[in-house]
Symmetry: C2
């Protein structure tokens, strides 16, 4: 059965929303004017990294193996700058370790991964493990599909959760710690870019030396 397309036909009675730019109402010259008005030689920091923090890149290593490594919470101990010493808690899937940006800052991690979509979400928080609100949304993509070559693309995004602006659980923090993770938001893209480069260097080094991307100790 073929159904005729009838885009937005349900809005005839409800009225069209404002600000919708489609070829029927905005011929190409009108749309091009809007596009050209947005494109710049440079973009301000807040426009690019104010509310979201996207980083991404190519990794010369097989996507299925790369996904498998990243899907293990303990891979964070390898490619992040400062997440270390993860041990399993009594709650299945929940790990606790230290974010060595500061002394005595605990970090809790639960990794939610989907092998078919190759999404890897690190649900984290400083200080407490009941509300994991710092979430790194990552995804491994087969580079053959999107770049026409072997290897992987890693997409990574982070959303500016309101708790970055104010610690909701100050009673859980070490009393002497002056810093809050969200104080660093404006440096996140740079920090994450460095970590993505770590991830890339480690994965490519292992792949290039014929080593498994997921090391033995992580498989045990």
């Amino acid at each position: 059965m073929t159904i005729d397309s009838n885009p937005l036909s349900d809005l005839i009675s409800a009225g069209m929303p404002d600000g919708v730019i489609r070829v029927e109402t905005h011929p190409r010259t009108a749309n091009t004017a809007l596009v050209v008005d947005k494109v710049r030689s440079v973009y301000p920091h807040q426009q690019i990294y104010g509310e979201f923090c996207p980083v991404q890149g190519y990794v010369d290593a097989p996507p299925d193996e790369l996904y498998e490594w990243l899907a293990d919470s303990r891979s964070l101990e390898e490619w992040t700058y400062s997440t270390r010493g993860l041990v399993a808690t009594e709650e299945p899937g929940l790990w606790v370790g230290y974010d060595r940006l500061n002394t005595d800052t605990e970090i809790y991690v639960r990794t939610v991964a989907n092998p078919a979509a190759m999404t890897v979400d690190y649900h984290c928080a400083w200080d407490q493990g009941r509300h994991l609100w710092m979430i790194y949304l990552m995804r491994v993509v087969d580079a053959q599909l999107v770049l026409n070559k072997p290897g992987s693309v890693v997409l990574w995004n982070n959303c500016r959760h309101p708790f970055y602006d104010e610690n909701p659980y100050p009673e859980a923090a070490p009393p002497e710690r002056a810093e809050w993770v969200g104080d660093l938001w404006d440096m996140f893209w740079a920090g994450h870019q460095i970590e993505l480069e770590n991830l890339t260097a480690i994965a490519e080094h292992r792949h290039g030396h014929g080593l498994p991307l997921t090391p033995e100790w992580m498989r045990a």
Copy 2:
């Protein structure tokens, strides 16, 4: 069984890769210097949108319903600027319509979606449906998790496939067409931003008026 973490222990004999920045080798002051060196008041266009094209935003509509709408290829006829008239081909899941940026430009679409991860990948190509290399990688995320409020976040990325730089199937193009889709790469982020705003406006309008996000004709 608890296994001691042993990050990068497999690289003791293979040697460490160059360029890995970790707290063990780079104390915080050293890392901060690297981070500050990357952060800018403005970033050049090519750094941000040269090889990848990330756009993302908040949508005030339920994530499960938003995912369901986007997972139908025909939603492209609603929120994109110019993809129209999709009809099913004889190949299951493959649709063909027109990209009305140009007259007579066919566009083929196969949507690969994962309901658990809420990924929606539009595998597309102009002119021919055998090699779908233009891939929009999208994902719906529950805003309650990442922004602490009801609604959705939509992540969208696009990778600069080499075919954007040269049409690999020129014989499939209408003979009179001078333009190639990749000629527009540097305007993609702005065009996609406009389309993400369309998507947002339509979804929020439907949700706000109590209409289903996926319209009746698309369910038939």
